[in-house]
Symmetry: C2
Subunit: 182 residues, 2 copies
């Protein structure tokens, strides 16, 4: 299965580091051409499903202005310049929840949008989580820490209380791995 060929590309809007929109002239393997196929470059980010030794998962509840709803999510955030994905995950876990964790497993990069790109989310499962401080958020982050049991996380996930599709993906995978002993 062949890749598309990008014949040319021009930037339509550059709001770096948050987003940059380009239009690409592409040629498909069947010679079909699309003159304006849009790409959106957005930052990479990490999210972490951390578990304490007694089986609790630190999650955060906050208003998200994109969809305009209060959302139950895993600790997550954009990587800083030159920051590797696990360092970013550890930093966000500590900032948003005050937790650290001893054993980290990387589940890989998941892309957000098949057509436009829209960056990627790097998923981690971390064990041995312990709270070492209070959350220390930026002033633009207003969030409530929630410490849920695995059963509560599963009920929220299955019950449709987790509406961020990236959180839902990470929670589902993490539950399957943790509960399956994988």
């Amino acid at each position: 299965m062949k890749a598309w060929e990008t014949l040319s590309s021009r930037v339509l809007l550059d709001c770096s580091p948050w987003l940059r929109v380009s239009s690409e002239h592409v040629r498909l393997p069947n010679d079909v051409q699309i003159a304006d196929f849009y790409r959106i470059d957005m930052p990479e980010w990490s999210q972490v499903f951390a578990i304490t030794d007694d089986g609790r998962v630190p999650m955060v509840e906050h208003y998200k202005h994109g969809p305009g709803v209060v959302s139950l999510e895993l600790p997550a955030g954009y990587l800083e310049a030159d920051e590797d994905t696990e360092t970013g995950a550890r930093r966000e876990l500590l900032e948003e929840t005050g937790f650290e964790a001893s054993s980290w497993r990387y589940l890989g990069r998941y892309f957000l949008d098949g057509n436009r790109g829209c960056g990627g989310s790097h998923l981690f499962v971390a064990r041995g989580a312990v709270q070492v401080s209070e959350p220390r958020c930026e002033e633009s982050e207003i969030l409530t820490l929630r410490l849920l049991t695995l059963d509560e996380v599963r009920a929220a996930w299955i019950g449709g209380q987790i509406r961020n599709i990236a959180t839902a993906a990470a929670v589902g995978l993490a539950l399957a791995l943790v509960e399956g002993g994988l």
Copy 2:
């Protein structure tokens, strides 16, 4: 937990119907203001986890230019103008795989990006799937139909072979519901 207030908004780039980027001046509940908070409006889309009576799931494998990879995904696509979410899901299932299904369950709307918006994906689980025709794709869609058992879908999901985060979210939820008899 209070919503942010949008004090003003201006469109920076309008490539409708595919995407429109706006900049909003917002005020947070703690009176912090952000002068340029970006919003990306993108189309809504449906995806469907369909199952035949003998437990097979029609999926599609295609090159996706956003991430530049070959991706294993559920049948999915943008809703047409004034099309409801289930009609869109039925149409995409038929176009991309040639399958119809008799019993449809809506799992709701999941948003793609908490900060930017980026549209929403509407998830369906459909039972009684049967193939009634060959796939009939647009010329810009080059895809391979794959008919997987539930065990094969689970192995692909857990094994990290499903890298579209929206597909991973839908597959995980559908497997939990179907295998859990929910």
